[in-house]
């Protein structure tokens, strides 16, 4: 059937790219995770959980915390853009909130390094205002720095999605609630957020998966133990050439990311039912 063949031919380049650059490497590294000195086994995983259990927990906690904060911040931003009654403040916020989205993670890492360090800009400002003495100043370049970097970088993205969804919510549903006596906060929590819940979830899941894969931020801000899984993978490969354990760590990340995606799929199925 020449028509069918032609169709296949047209799809082939795209298919080849996906198979060669995405599926094949994924399968190879998944297989590699079970390969110990030429034989298959659980060795890499034993080593992974032996050495890095703490880091796995650390990564999950940091990213979950960041995701939660991103959610709250983007609801606040989207909510103010939709319900704010001060047109100038709304315009300023609308202009400002997107900027961090265009700054790469590595630059975010660099900016926050100079900002959050013990003698960084933040502490210097506090000290010059007399809010802090130089002795009390402490470095934020640890887990807190990672959370701040993630929230700072990812909030605009989720806020963009959420604000867009909120803008397309039928304004009458907001006014109906105001008419019956709901405060703006209640409108936000009880009327607006439930109507954009799906978009919010999608944004947060995409953020979660993005944060799972960021290497530069933990390397630049948190050069200590425990650290994020990405830093561990880089370390296994660069310092030991140990692709086996690196692959196993990668597979653990994949499982974590997929579990979140699974929550999303279940929710979207339930919504359609």
């Amino acid at each position: 059937m020449p028509r069918r063949l032609l169709g296949l031919l047209l799809v082939l380049p795209a298919l080849a790219v996906i198979v060669l650059l995405f599926i094949l490497p994924l399968v190879m590294s998944a297989v590699g995770a079970f390969e110990v000195e030429g034989a298959f086994g659980w060795g890499n995983f034993a080593k992974t959980f032996d050495l890095y259990t703490k880091d796995i927990v650390f990564s999950v906690v940091i990213i979950a915390l960041s995701t939660g904060l991103i959610g709250i911040a983007s609801i606040a931003i989207g909510g103010y853009l939709t319900l704010g009654e001060h047109p100038v403040a709304v315009a300023i916020l609308r202009f400002l909130y997107r900027w961090p989205m265009f700054i790469p993670f590595i630059v975010v890492g660099q900016i926050l390094r100079t900002f959050l360090a013990k003698n960084g800009m933040m502490n210097n400002t506090f000290i010059s205002f007399g809010l802090l003495t130089p002795i009390e100043a402490q470095s934020f370049l640890d887990w807190r720095g990672i959370v701040i970097a993630f929230v700072w970088k990812q909030t605009p993205f989720v806020a963009l999605l959420v604000a867009g969804a909120m803008a397309s919510v039928n304004r009458d549903t907001i006014e109906a609630a105001r008419n019956l006596g709901a405060s703006r906060l209640r409108v936000l929590i009880e009327i607006l957020v439930p109507q954009v819940a799906m978009t919010l979830t999608v944004g947060l899941i995409l953020s979660f998966v993005t944060m799972m894969s960021v290497l530069s931020v933990p390397l630049m801000i948190n050069a200590q133990s425990p650290t994020m899984l990405t830093a561990d993978i880089a370390f296994r490969v660069n310092s030991y050439g140990d692709y086996g354990v690196a692959n196993a760590l990668g597979l653990v990340s994949l499982v974590l990311a997929s579990s979140v995606a699974w929550i999303y799929l279940r929710a979207s199925l339930k919504e359609r039912a």
């Binding site: 039928n170 009458d172 549903t173 006014e175 609630a177 008419n179 019956l180 709901a182 109507q195």
Partner: protein
């Protein structure tokens, strides 16, 4: 108009940017009255309703409810509940949650909410639907949930923004009567915005006709229908035939001079503030009588036009004729059909002929369906 009504608007005006949407709105509504705000789209009727609800502030004037100035109060402090054209039901809540939300906001206890919601459901015939989300309800059911949500908080004033326009024609007719009966039973003051003349006529105690942000006329349905105060109101209430004539005041009569298509006639002046000179005459197609030219002598007081049937159609119940009078065309209904080309006389009884001095005719041209090139007397 009575002084000191329950809901009072004094000199209310509203602007949107540089556009004056409403101007000089003075309105007094008594407790328990059903008032229809009637007007074509863009006349400011929805703006007036939103202004009453407190979603927009007037640029001038004041709004009072029971002698309390509510002009700048937030929407929830006014004792008014609004039913939206789109219903604006919250899609993530069930019918019962939608109805009970206003009570929840007021801090009413859970059991009390359940009782009141159940009572509201049986009042509106929504029993058994409490667990359904709005997406699983029909248009009529959604409309009733929206109404229930507004009524559950026991408002003093119910504001209705074209609540029937999304219903299909047959349901709309029954809902009209249901809504009116409910309003009477609850004794609630209702303000109903609509562009549907018949809906306003059937439901309201009083009709307020808005034109270009101003009140064109207010009165009972019978008053605005039979005694329109301006050419605009006459046209809006269905008197779309327009003819330009000349006349003189003569005691209690207004004497219309013989024109190209009409014989000399005289109609009682009644209370009309007509002055001698060119006038615009308006009448409804159904009030005209179509006669053969020979029958003219037999008819009573009124005016008779002579013309030629240009077209005829049957919209149901009667034959509708397009009659050419010189360069003007008018519509006239008859129980029997005249062939196109037939010479006919169109008789309009005095009480069905609305006369206005020609200077007052500007807004009317937007609604009248007369052909261009009409004769200006």
């Amino acid at each position: 108009m009575e002084r000191g009504g329950f809901l009072e608007l004094r000199g209310v005006a509203s602007r949107y940017g540089s556009t004056q949407v409403l101007a000089d709105i003075d309105l007094s509504i008594s407790k328990g009255e059903f008032v229809a705000l009637l007007g074509s789209s863009g006349c400011g009727k929805t703006t007036l309703l939103r202004l009453l609800a407190g979603f927009i502030s007037p640029s001038a004037g004041e709004v009072r409810v029971g002698h309390r100035d509510v002009t700048h109060l937030p929407p929830d402090k006014r004792g008014m509940a609004l039913v939206f054209q789109s219903y604006a039901l919250w899609p993530h809540m069930t019918a019962a949650q939608n109805i009970g939300y206003g009570l929840k906001l007021k801090g009413v206890s859970r059991t009390e909410i359940a009782t009141r919601v159940a009572a509201m459901q049986s009042l509106l015939g929504l029993d058994g639907l409490e667990a359904r989300k709005p997406s699983a309800l029909s248009g009529g059911q959604r409309q009733r949930v929206a109404l229930g949500r507004a009524l559950a908080v026991d408002p003093e004033i119910l504001l209705l923004d074209e609540p029937l326009s999304n219903l299909d024609a047959r349901i709309r007719l029954t809902v009209r009567h249901e809504l009116r009966a409910l309003q009477k039973r609850l004794g609630i003051t209702a303000i109903h915005v609509t562009h549907d003349r018949e809906e306003a006529m059937v439901m309201a105690d009083r009709i307020v006709i808005l034109n270009a942000g101003k009140i064109a006329q207010q009165g009972t349905p019978e008053e605005v229908y039979n005694r329109p105060a301006s050419a605009f109101v006459a046209a809006f209430m269905g008197a779309e035939n327009v003819i330009h004539l000349d006349g003189v005041r003569d005691g209690g009569q207004f004497v219309i001079a013989e024109g190209a298509a009409n014989a000399k006639a005289s109609v009682p002046l009644l209370d009309r503030p007509l002055t001698s000179g060119p006038v615009e005459a308006r009448f409804r197609p159904e009030t005209a009588r179509l006669l053969t030219e020979g029958e003219v002598a037999a008819v009573g007081s009124g005016i008779t036009f002579r013309g030629e049937v240009a077209a005829v159609s049957y919209p149901g119940g009667h034959w509708r004729h397009m009659v050419r009078l010189g360069q003007t065309e008018i519509m006239a209904d008859g129980t029997q059909a005249f062939e196109p080309g037939a010479r006919v006389a169109v008789h309009v009884p005095a009480e069905a002929l609305f006369l206005f001095n020609a200077s007052a005719n500007e807004p009317a041209s937007t609604v009248s369906r007369t052909t261009p090139g009409k004769v200006y007397a």
